[in-house]
């Protein structure tokens, strides 16, 4: 399969597509159809409970593709470097370096667990099936996926984890350090940087072992996208993201086209349009990796480039739907102490009431200086939540639309379950 074929087909201007929501709803069929197609499997899973349960959807899905994909497998526990890191992590206990929190989240994963990423790659692999030309040796017959796809799923998780770990570095430049603290923080940074590099280096060699250079290029571009995500828009001194200042719709620049997913995401027309900014931010930070991984899984199975593109869109939409779902979470229960300032509800609210931007500006030094209560009230009283739900539905529908391309089967049903579980009853 030539690179030019990949290049020529992809014209997924996600930024543009979601700038005009009507186009999306027209393009994609309502979600009801897909759900009914896989209702039998779904009923088994959800009958004891009226609303779909996330954890159950995930653990049912894990059974479908064999053992869970977590990279915390025995191989890793036995590795020298990881043992080394664990040893050093213990020294950090008692300090408040964010690496500890990242490590904890890796082990006790809740709703936003990252293992689910590798799982989705495996489910997509199984749902799509593979070309009959692939020799038996390369297949995991019991699970219905290829060994190479399993390796790819592991790479996806490693890249994501590496990114989260590097994101957790403390900026030592701006920090007002209290006595005794700098050593801990410096040491924590060192370990975080090295652990992230270790994961990245492992992804490099795992990818190289797949002996598919188009795949290496695609996945490397996902690493690049993750790095780019950390530079998008305004930041406080700890690099926490802030939304950019909203500008009225009349002065938005046209969104630029994006012809090839190997090219970096264009930023034309993003500035000041907070909905586009939300899409761009989360395509870079999440959608690119999941989308490119799904696309790569289909490439490994010998599917044509058109389906590979659909795989990319599936992962991308799923990641965005997921993100919108997480953004909404802060507004489902009691008022939280803080919430994401670059979440979709906040973006819609700010765009509608630009005068609220003064609260954001208060957080230029640190997001901790922000009056979250005032912003929370504004979001709850405005239409931001309703808009976010609508946005999430669009992405869910788009993802389901792709799912429909795959033959009916347990993996497809499990993916539909996972998508179905991303719903809040507000």
């Amino acid at each position: 399969m030539s690179l030019s074929r990949l290049r020529s087909v992809v014209r997924c201007d996600v930024v543009k597509a979601f700038a005009s929501s009507s186009a999306v709803t027209k393009l994609f069929r309502p979600c009801g159809e897909v759900t009914s197609a896989c209702s039998t499997q779904r009923r088994n899973v959800t009958q004891h409970n009226t609303k779909p349960d996330w954890n159950r959807a995930v653990s049912e899905a894990e059974k479908i593709v064999g053992y869970p994909t977590s990279f915390l497998s025995l191989r890793w526990v036995l590795s020298d470097e990881i043992a080394n890191v664990a040893l050093h992590l213990r020294k950090l206990v008692g300090s408040n370096h964010p690496l500890l929190k990242t490590a904890k989240n890796l082990i006790y994963n809740g709703k936003n667990n990252m293992q689910a990423w590798g799982l989705i790659v495996l489910l997509v692999s199984k749902a799509a099936g593979h070309s009959p030309e692939i020799p038996d040796m390369e297949q995991d017959k019991a699970a219905g996926v290829l060994h190479s796809q399993r390796a790819l799923a592991e790479v996806t998780e490693m890249i994501r984890t590496s990114h989260l770990v590097h994101k957790g570095l403390v900026n030592m430049n701006s920090r007002q350090l209290t006595a005794g603290e700098p050593d801990d923080m410096m040491f924590g940074n060192k370990i975080a940087l090295l652990s992230g590099d270790y994961l990245l280096a492992n992804s490099c060699s795992e990818l190289a072992n797949l002996r598919n250079q188009e795949l290496v290029e695609l996945m490397s571009s996902a690493v690049r996208d993750l790095a780019e995500a950390e530079f998008l828009g305004e930041r406080d001194e700890q690099n926490n993201p802030l939304p950019s200042r909203p500008v009225p719709e009349a002065s938005w620049e046209p969104a630029s086209d994006w012809d090839c997913i190997l090219d970096p995401l264009p930023m034309g027309g993003v500035q000041g349009c907070l909905r586009r900014e939300w899409v761009a931010r989360h395509v870079l930070a999440a959608g690119a990796l999941l989308g490119k991984s799904c696309s790569a899984a289909l490439k490994l199975a010998g599917h044509n480039s058109e389906l590979q593109t659909q795989g990319y869109l599936f992962g991308c939409h799923l990641a965005l739907a997921w993100q919108a779902f997480l953004d909404l979470e802060a507004f489902t229960g009691p008022e939280p102490a803080s919430f994401s300032l670059v979440g979709a509800p906040m973006a819609f609210t700010l765009q509608a009431k630009p005068e609220l931007y003064k609260y954001i500006e208060a957080g230029r030094r640190s997001v901790q200086d922000i009056d979250y209560h005032a912003l929370y009230r504004a979001v709850v009283e405005g239409t931001g939540i309703a808009h976010t739900q609508q946005l999430q539905r669009q992405h869910v529908d788009a993802a389901r639309h792709v799912l429909h391309r795959f033959p009916v089967g347990d993996a497809r049903a499990a993916l539909a379950n996972i998508i179905g579980a991303m719903r809040h009853d507000l």
Binding site: E81, H166, N171, M172, V216
Partner: protein
């Protein structure tokens, strides 16, 4: 004897010939000398660097073993016994001048490649910061030199540099810079290459991300070469770099273990990049497995010599008022070759090594003991041995200006003063 045991460790595979002229080398004292004419001296990898004890198969035996061994012997002896630029037959080859056209614009090309891959202005600024053309471009130079030498070896006089080989030269510099950027955050260094280091100027998270970005772009470039073997060889570099960095966090209890640990770390942190990138260019030229292995061993020996000299300069350059911080490695808690050698004579260094020179006065005391011992001399000897081995391996390729350049490069690395 430290000298004996260490040379056994790293020169296990080297043949008698090597040992013989090893003795000659030891006798001569002038090592850190004024820079040779031509390119200015090099200092690239800060204090750090990588696997040595496993020297691999006996270097070079078997490949063209019967051609010109007498001449090689002569020239090797000459190069080591004079301690200065030897007379390589008729002309003195300056590799930088030889490759002027190939190296010209290499930093611009890297910057363009990075710029093409991001729409974030600040990311572009940080990522291109060290590609300002101020570096000595040792890695790209060695890669291109080897590429041309191997091409000449395989295809004869009319061979040209392949675009893919030049790409590998760029990639080697990019991987190197990505590791420098992460090193800067880890070591909190203030200056590099005569300007403030990245971690002083920018947010540390962004700096870490910029390092990841450079690596990602480099690995996209590798993938575009569409060679499975080259990708495997270069992905090994990244793994080695990280493993070397992890090795640097720990140390070993016993002296023998410690020296082996140091050499392995030196291989992984410095030599692997050079060795594997010259191997990659050899693979791209279509050379046979034997020639690729000679290229690899050349790079490995050159890299080891380079880092040993680096570790040595960390002790002596201050004495010569070079205007750089003294004993930077000691201050980072690292015991490099000179300290490990000095340990033989002054066992009181052992507890200091174990506590990573953290108690007050440790750094000064260790510095003094190293100078009182023969540690510097022994390090110099070891570096020289690896340099001589690199020159010997270079002679296995067909005679050409580039092949001579490889030998000269080994000398440049040994004779650099900063």
């Amino acid at each position: 004897m430290a000298c004996l045991s260490s040379s056994r460790l790293c020169a296990r595979v080297q043949d008698k010939l090597m040992c013989q002229f090893g003795h000659k080398v030891r006798r001569q004292t002038v090592f850190v000398k004024l820079k040779p004419p031509g390119p200015s001296p090099l200092r690239l990898f800060g204090k750090t660097c990588q696997r040595v004890t496993t020297c691999g198969p006996a270097c070079g035996t078997g490949v063209h073993a019967n051609t010109g061994s007498a001449r090689r012997l002569a020239s090797s002896l000459q190069s080591t016994s004079t301690g200065s630029l030897p007379d390589y037959g008729t002309q003195i080859v300056d590799p930088y001048r030889l490759l002027e056209d190939d190296l010209n614009g290499i930093y611009e090309d890297i910057r363009t490649e990075l710029q093409k891959n991001t729409n974030q202005a600040e990311l572009n600024t940080i990522a291109t910061y060290y590609f300002d053309g101020q570096g000595k471009a040792l890695r790209p130079m060695v890669a291109i030199l080897m590429a041309r030498a191997v091409n000449y070896h395989v295809y004869g006089e009319n061979s040209a540099l392949l675009p893919s080989q030049r790409q590998v030269a760029m990639i080697s510099e990019m991987i190197h810079s990505a590791s420098l950027i992460h090193d800067d955050v880890i070591d909190q260094s203030d200056f590099r290459r005569g300007k403030p280091s990245v971690n002083v100027l920018w947010n540390h998270k962004k700096v870490a991300m910029a390092g990841d970005f450079i690596l990602a772009v480099a690995s996209m470039m590798i993938a575009r070469l569409r060679s499975d073997d080259v990708t495997l060889v270069l992905s090994q570099v990244v793994t080695d770099l990280v493993q070397g960095e992890f090795m640097q966090l720990g140390s070993k209890e016993t002296e023998n273990e410690r020296f082996a640990h140091y050499l392995t770390k030196t291989y992984r942190k410095t030599a692997s990049l050079i060795a594997n990138s010259v191997k990659a260019v050899a693979l791209l030229s279509g050379a046979d497995a034997g020639a690729c292995e000679v290229a690899f061993q050349y790079g490995r020996n050159l890299g080891l010599a380079f880092q040993l000299v680096d570790d040595l300069l960390d002790f002596v350059s201050s004495a010569q008022a070079m205007g750089k911080p003294t004993a930077a490695d000691l201050k980072l808690g690292l015991a490099t070759a000179p300290v490990l050698f000095a340990c033989e004579k002054y066992p009181e260094l052992n507890p200091m090594i174990m506590r990573r020179f953290q108690e007050s006065g440790d750094v000064e005391k260790a510095f003094e003991l190293v100078h009182k011992s023969r540690g510097l001399e022994q390090t110099r000897f070891l570096a020289r041995k690896h340099g001589a081995e690199a020159a010997r391996l270079a002679a296995e390729f067909a005679d050409s200006p580039y092949q001579k350049g490889l030998a000269v490069t080994a000398d440049l690395v040994l004779n650099r003063i900063k």
